[in-house]
Subunit: 257 residues, 4 copies
């Protein structure tokens, strides 16, 4: 009792490679950028010029965050297996879970579940209040707001909202995200502006990207950044020094016995 | 005796994120595409318009190859851990080694070691003959030529060379790569045209990307494609069916005992 | 404002390696088996003879499940990167998430939250009824019971319970796990015996292993099994054939256009 | 033109799980330890009592090396994705490449290629001299000898050789490994005793484990140790502190601008 298996992504004949219905050589190469190709992978169509600007902006935001735990994991891996750079990038990606990049997914889910149909008028203020009350009741952190370093404002959020607005994507999800931040500030009595995560989740929602795939934007973007970190580790290594210092300090109480 | 550790990639202050000297919000977001951001990670500068076209073309070529072993590994992983999509992409990347994407690295190394200084005039025909003789003597496969499916021509190679030429990158590495293919055809007595791997290696060399980092272009590009496969696996799963069939057939001789 | 970092696992001097207070060469090598070493990693002490039998039994149960999605992911990865066997095992491990091995964690959590203090007398029948009612109310699957293939009984469960009993570990967690299965059978009106996952979770709980680390037993055990699959893939490969068939069937509707 | 696919590892029927011809519940659980199960995966048979001692000793040696780059990669990954412990172990394994655990493979290959048939009398002294000369001529490091910390002796090597001898495995590979160290000391004019890597490679060769699978012993063993590190990271975290310090120091020259 076999189930059929099927893919609609790509196939090849001797003289042609087809991706999502496009002839790779004729229709894509030379004309489609890497970011637009990513949009094609996520939506089955090429972006309009405005979608391209907005999508590339959120993806680019996620490429590089400096010396993150993810970048350190990739560098540590490269030190042991320099012949397998792909495994170092893979190791770095493994940690893009609930704590860091995954939080975008939670924020996008929050927005998309509150507004399942963005073409219908939404009472965003009421929705925002309900969201904050619900998270408060469950003692869960509201996703997409607040930042330990970027205070009082995460500069990426207003810039991404500006880019979205310039390209016609200032719709209900962005409105709701901003109002969630305002309601949370009132409820918790402290500054909780929309952060990069929240802004990306809102813009991705405006671009009609389902929340289940939103983490993927972060994963693909960070793969790019991790290659950059491995490139630097090749030329100016730090992994062994970090390891030596950590080991010395962490075992000092044992070795002194 | 501590060695200093240092990164020049990115850093943040409360109101600013800086990446390679650029203010992320002011200089990059909204103006730099994902592919150009990748170029920045690989070279420490933004590409010119012509470099951008050539670089995006080689990166885009590597995004999607259909149902590869790497895509199947990612889908199998997603089936067991749907809550950790990043781990599925990581699993897919782990196999981009010597057999598939890594072959670009070998080809780029071959070209760059033959022509260490591309601004000096190179006798590419003589170099190509020496390369093929050396690989033949060692009984090693010459990288970057021949393809099991795309015969007599891998259509990506001429298209990438065309894009390179249109943008002023028809330099000695591309010339050498083509001549290696010709010499190999003579030496082995069969059709061995430049394949996508060889063309990408040659164009990357024209873009002055060191061979050690060339595999990274494939790793970052494929991360994008793998997110596309996971998206399809979410909506139209095949991993379990592939597994069930493989298991049934592979253990039939045991179960019949 | 630095926080101290500290490990109590292992350290080395020029002439000695110490692991959890034991001299590796003098106290461990030659006397401690791999399974007991795993117990040491999970508890900070060596097991008694009885603990060793019970712990090794649950770990051994998890080593090998045949051609799982995880084994196929490892084999696909090996095909592309045979020079990086560790990356193939890593790819295989990435999928040990909520659907497969991770379900042990859910079952162990269910048991340990119901009986936080196993030395106090527990009303397991009442607890079992409450557990089943709670999962039913939430429309969640009760973990640790039922199996698609092993019907009416998963043979590993009674065998593991027998081994536990022979070694003095027939305590409240095993009792509760069995009663959860009985209550669920009544509630759902179908056969739902304790499965391997549930039995392992119960025995691990009897061994006082906290639920947060229980998935780790599966991860370490499966790493052993995955090396076995890669060994077979080296000698009798199947990954490429599986890939070729999947690709042909899955893209047939596209290529026929 | 389908090739058959086949596995001989394991299969299941409704009431039985069979692994390498053994009934899991009847023949293995309760009687076979985790280390012996690993031997079964690597050889298709259970070890004799003496093989078990020798094999468990080399596997146990590889479980724990303290705060290695691999352990730090796993901890960094856990910090970002605590819900996916398997991905943290996977990230840690990715770095077990040519620099660390992979060196066992090189040493085992060196020994097994020098003595393809260990039952025939081998002139180990002559072979050792040839090996050292060959590595010297190629300017390659002789694998399995010397250690940056454990001087003048890596205590694991004599202990593993002692265990091997006690169990009847003091054959030609161990003899050759020791003589390679002696010849290298003469050739390089410095102390280069057999290290743990070399001793493990030699004992694994005595156990007739092919060099291509030897890295796998390290991979499976280290998976166990990495679970131990994640357990400690859960209770006494260090990853974020290591990251914070590294980031602060590494970007200080940038932030001061």
């Amino acid at each position: 009792m076999r189930k059929p298996i099927r893919t609609d992504i790509a196939w090849s004949t001797t003289d042609r490679i087809t991706v999502k219905g496009f002839d790779l050589c004729r229709d894509i190469l030379g004309g489609v950028s890497l970011g637009d190709m990513a949009f094609l992978e996520l939506t089955d169509r090429l972006p309009t010029a405005k979608e391209s600007v907005a999508f590339n902006a959120i993806a680019v935001t996620l490429v590089e965050h400096g010396l993150t735990p993810s970048a350190i994991a990739a560098r540590m891996t490269y030190t042991g297996a320099p012949e397998a750079m792909q495994a170092a990038v893979a190791a770095g990606l493994c940690g893009l879970g609930s704590v860091f990049v995954g939080s975008m997914e939670t924020a996008a889910r929050m927005l998309q579940e509150a507004i399942p149909n963005p073409s219908k008028k939404a009472e965003t203020e009421k929705l925002a209040r309900e969201i904050v009350e619900r998270f408060q009741a469950r003692k869960q952190v509201v996703p997409g707001i607040g930042h330990p370093l970027h205070k009082p404002v995460d500069p990426r959020a207003p810039r991404l909202f500006e880019i979205a607005a310039e390209n016609g994507f200032d719709g209900p999800y962005i409105k709701l995200m901003k109002q969630v931040a305002q309601q949370a500030e009132t409820a918790y009595g402290k500054s909780l502006p929309v952060n990069a995560t929240g802004a990306i989740a809102a813009v991705a929602s405006e671009l009609k990207l389902p929340w289940r795939i939103v983490r993927g934007i972060g994963v693909m973007a960070r793969a790019i950044g991790l290659v950059g970190h491995i490139r630097e580790e090749m030329r100016e290594p730090m992994a062994r020094e970090i390891k030596t210092r950590a080991e010395e300090e962490a075992t000092a109480h044992l070795r002194s016995r």
